[in-house]
Structure formats: structure tokens, C-alpha cells
């Protein structure tokens, strides 16, 4: 078990706020997926206001589009708070920079959202908007982890990395592939292109993630900082593969529908949301690997080297 260090209340509050932001961002991604699923992206023709006001009639597609804007505005405002809070309270320059990067990304994301409305959903911008949303989730997820108690005040390393295929590198590779897969998914959803590549990507990602999770399970089951995200990642990955197949089938069944059906919207939205969750779980596992595992080339004399950790 890793030691838990108590920190001043204000730092715990900052970490709690960052976790809250992760939840809000996740909801924002779901709200965005509902807009696309319900084909409501242009239900509000103007931007930044909606029908010339802050609160248009919340009917039909307007409910989804303006609802997405409301959640996005809230997340935007909260990101200002987060950036300032991190800047004021955190003494690590790269964490402080990350707070400002989060703010820059959320502002860019808002502008991209506006461009999609004013230019009638140009596919490249819509794809970029979808991908930047995932990147923003990664940033706030990282901030939540970086401001946590154990990250800040735990020992430098808790175990040695594996020789051969390093966990530190394998997890980075898995995260990069998950993000690439999300780009392919966004292209399929917004540009209706690349089904083959998205399916191929699913196999690659499933393989890499399973390998990563299996190695954590085998070698680092005693390290809760790695074990917990790995187990969550494995469960999410299984769910995501099922939802991927489900999305394809439900799309196929509803391709001649007069309007978006509840089942189609529910399954595809769940697929987008779970994809985001897979990405953030994979990223957190990657960061944890880099935090707790000593690089293979600088193997440390640890008091408790995990069984097989040097194999």
C-alpha cells in the first residue's frame, strides 16, 4: 500500500475541484454527442447567442444544441476558476502552465463550436471540435491527478519498470492509439468516412489496451495507483467494444428512419462517452506508470520490488 499524505485543506479542495471539472467535462462530451445523435447541430442558427437571446425556447433540436452550449459555457467559466486556482495555489510550473493550456483549449473549443454553427458543420471543423473535446478532458483529468495527495507527496518511485517492453512506453503507446481511434471515430461520425479504419483501429486498440492491463494485473497488482485504473480501463474497453458493435448494428437498422431514434441516439452517445472514458483512464494509467515506476535504465534498489518486475 502506498503511503497517504495529508495535505492542507485548500490543496484538497483544489484537487476536488479538478475532479469536479472532469465530471463536468464528461457531461459536456455526452451533451455534444446528443447534439450530433439528434442531428441538432444547426437547430440554433446563430452564435454566440441562441435565437438572439441567452435562453431560447427549449424545444426539439434547440434543447440539445442550446443545452450543449449551456453546459459548455459553465465548463468554460469553471475552467477560468481552475486555471486561476492552480496558478495561485500550485507551485509546480508545468502544472500552472497546464491550467492556462486548459483555458486556452476551452476557449478554442468554444470558437470551433461557433464556426461549426456559422459555417454549417464543415466536417474538418466538426472532427477537430470532437477531438479537442477529448484533449480537454485529458488535460483536466491530468490536472485532477497531478493535484492529488499521493501524486504530490508519495515516494519518488514505488517499483521498477519492466525490462524489454517498458510499461512506461507501452502505456504511452496505448494512450496514443486510443486517441487516434477517437479521431477515426469522429471522422466516421462527422464526415461519414473511414468505417474500415475505425474497425481496424478498434482491433489495434483492444490489443494494446488488453496487453497493458494484463501486464499491470500480472506485475503490479500490489500497486493500487496502477492496478485500479488498469482494472477500470479493462472494463471500459470491454464495454466500448460492445458499444462499437452495437452502434454499427443500430445505425444499420435505422439508416432509413425518418428521424433519429431513441435507441440509435442512446447507443451511439454511450459509445462516444465510453470512448472518452477509455481515453482518460488510459492516460491516467500512463501518468501513473511514469510516476510510480522507475525507468528500466535506472533501476532502483527498492525495498519491495514486485515479483517479476525485472523479468
Amino acid at each position: 500500500m502506498q503511503p497517504r499524505v495529508e495535505l492542507p485543506t485548500q490543496n484538497r479542495a483544489l484537487h476536488g475541484f479538478a475532479v469536479f471539472m472532469v465530471g463536468c467535462t464528461f457531461l459536456l462530451i455526452i451533451a455534444g454527442a446528443l447534439v450530433t445523435g439528434n442531428e441538432a447541430g444547426l437547430a440554433v442558427p446563430d452564435w454566440p447567442l441562441s435565437y438572439g437571446s441567452l435562453m431560447p425556447p427549449m424545444i426539439g433540436g434547440i434543447f440539445y444544441e442550446h443545452g450543449h452550449r449551456m453546459v459548455a459555457s459553465f465548463v468554460g467559466l469553471m475552467t477560468i476558476v481552475l486555471a486561476i486556482w492552480v496558478w495561485k495555489r500550485d507551485d509546480r510550473p508545468f502544472v500552472r502552465r497546464l491550467g492556462w493550456i486548459a483555458l486556452a483549449v476551452v476557449v478554442t473549443q468554444g470558437i470551433l463550436g461557433g464556426i461549426t454553427v456559422l459555417f454549417f458543420l464543415p466536417a474538418p471543423i466538426s472532427v477537430l471540435h470532437a477531438c479537442l473535446a477529448q484533449a480537454f478532458l485529458c488535460i483536466v483529468g491530468s490536472l485532477a491527478l497531478l493535484t492529488s495527495h499521493n501524486w504530490r507527496h508519495g515516494p519518488r518511485h514505488a517499483a521498477n519498470d519492466l525490462k524489454g517492453v517498458s510499461m512506461r512506453r507501452l502505456s504511452v503507446c496505448a494512450t496514443a492509439c486510443v486517441y487516434g481511434q477517437l479521431i477515426l471515430g469522429a471522422a466516421l461520425r462527422h464526415a461519414k468516412a473511414g468505417l474500415f479504419w475505425h474497425v481496424l483501429g478498434a482491433f489495434v486498440v483492444a490489443l494494446l489496451v488488453t496487453w497493458t492491463v494484463a501486464r499491470v494485473y500480472k506485475y503490479y497488482a500490489h500497486l493500487s495507483s496502477l492496478f485500479r485504473p488498469a482494472i477500470v480501463l479493462g472494463i471500459l474497453m470491454a464495454a466500448q467494444l460492445s458499444l462499437g458493435v452495437g452502434s454499427y448494428l443500430v445505425r444499420l437498422a435505422s439508416r432509413e428512419d425518418v428521424q433519429p431514434g431513441v435507441a440509435m441516439v442512446a447507443v451511439t452517445t454511450a459509445h462516444v462517452a465510453t470512448g472518452a472514458a477509455v481515453l482518460v483512464a488510459c492516460l491516467l494509467l500512463t501518468l501513473q506508470c511514469r510516476r510510480w515506476l522507475a525507468p528500466a535504465e535506472t533501476q532502483l534498489q527498492l525495498t519491495s520490488v514486485p515479483q517479476g518486475a525485472t523479468s
Partner: protein, 266 residues
Amino acid sequence: MKRRLELWLAISVFVLLLAACGGGGEQPTETTESKPTESGAPAGPVTTVDPATAATLTGKVSFDGEKPKPRQIRMDAEASCASLHKEPVYAEEVVLNDDKTLQHVFVYVKEGLGDKTFATPSETVVLDQKGCVYTPHMIGVQVGQTVKILNSDPTTHNIHPVPANNREWNTSMSPGGSPLERTFPREEVMIPVKCNVHPWMKSYIGVLKHPFFAVTGKGGTFEIKGLPPGEYTIEAWHEKLGATTQKVTLAAKDSKAIDFTLKAAS
């Protein structure tokens, strides 16, 4: 010094955000851009067809295949739309008459008029949003001819044509608002029109340089009058069943009938 710089950066971003949120953002107009700015006026001398030699083309469009099951629209998502109908409402995609003739087929002269230009009619063509469906489902207009769009519903719509050859626009129409008048400056068969507030609402507009077109109605028939004598390619276009063409030669004062058959999509 560094802290001060960061403080100014934070303030600047905040002010920018405030400006973006509270900025102008005029309410989308409901009546503007009514004039044909990209002028659909004929470029060359206007052709006038001598009524003494004008020919007429008539016919009907039939459906070949198993009658597709009508698909009901779910309006329950919005009470104001659902309350406008006592009976179920079905999508007007493939509308068959009892004799298996088809409604909503756009029949028009595709080729054969050469470079002839025709006067733009002064009459407006009305497209209404009534009962949360477009009425009529399909219209044809000439380049530069005014389309008058109404909202007869007690709810907000946005009207959004998705052309390939004309400029795309998307305008909101509140209940009881003024009609919207628009023109299309370039020929295009067909322009899909949709309402993103109510995703089941779909309509089609055919835009041609000439007046020789028709949309089949309840009898599945069409009539194209006033054609100058000549050899033409006639196309029948349907949103789900595709298009088919026929060649026809018309002499002066001819009155010919041609029938089209559109097959069910395999």
C-alpha cells in the same frame, strides 16, 4: 514581474470571454435577404415561345415493386407539434396513390433547350411549415424566382436548405413571424431542405433555368405546357427511388404522353 504578466494574461482572457458572450449576435432575421442579390435574371435575350406552336407533354409516374410500409413520424418529442394532429402523420418519402402511381416526383426537361433563356416569373412560390411538416413536400422554381416561406405553426422552426450548387443558409422562423422570401441564383435538381429543430421535416426544391417542370400530385400525373418544338430528355426524379430519363421529340402543337416507372430500391 512574471506574476504580473500572468495576471494580465488572465484578465485579458476573461475580458475576451465576456466580449464573446455578451457581444452583438443579432437575432436571426426572419424577413431579410428577400431580394435576389445574386440575380437570377436571364443573362441573354429572353426566349418567348409562340403559343401557336407550343407543345404539351403529359404523363404519369408509376411505382414498380412491393408497396413500402409508410413510416410514422414521432412528434411526441414536441407537444406543440403533436397537438396539431389527431391522426398519425407519415413521412412523405414514398407516397403511393391507389393505382400505384407516385406523388412527389419532379419531372422536368433535363436537356434539349440549349442556351435558351426564359423570363423569371414574378409569382412567388409558397413553402409553408404547417403541422410541423413542409407543405408542399416538393416545389419547383426558376432561377431567381422568389420562394415565400411561411411558418403557420405555433412553434419555432429553422429552415435550412442544403444545396450543392447554391449558397447554403439557415434561418430561424418564430411562430407568427413575417414570411421569409428567398431566391436561388443557380440551377440545381434538387435542393434538400430541412428543419434541424424537428429532424423529420424534409422538403425538396428544384431550381431550373426554364419553366418546363412539374411535380406529380395525387393522380401521379404531370403536365408540362408551352414547350417549343424540339427533341428533349425528360427526367423524373424521386428522393428515394432515384431518377430515370426518357427522350421525346415534340413537333409544333404536339401533345404527347410519356409514362415513367420508378422501381423500388433493392
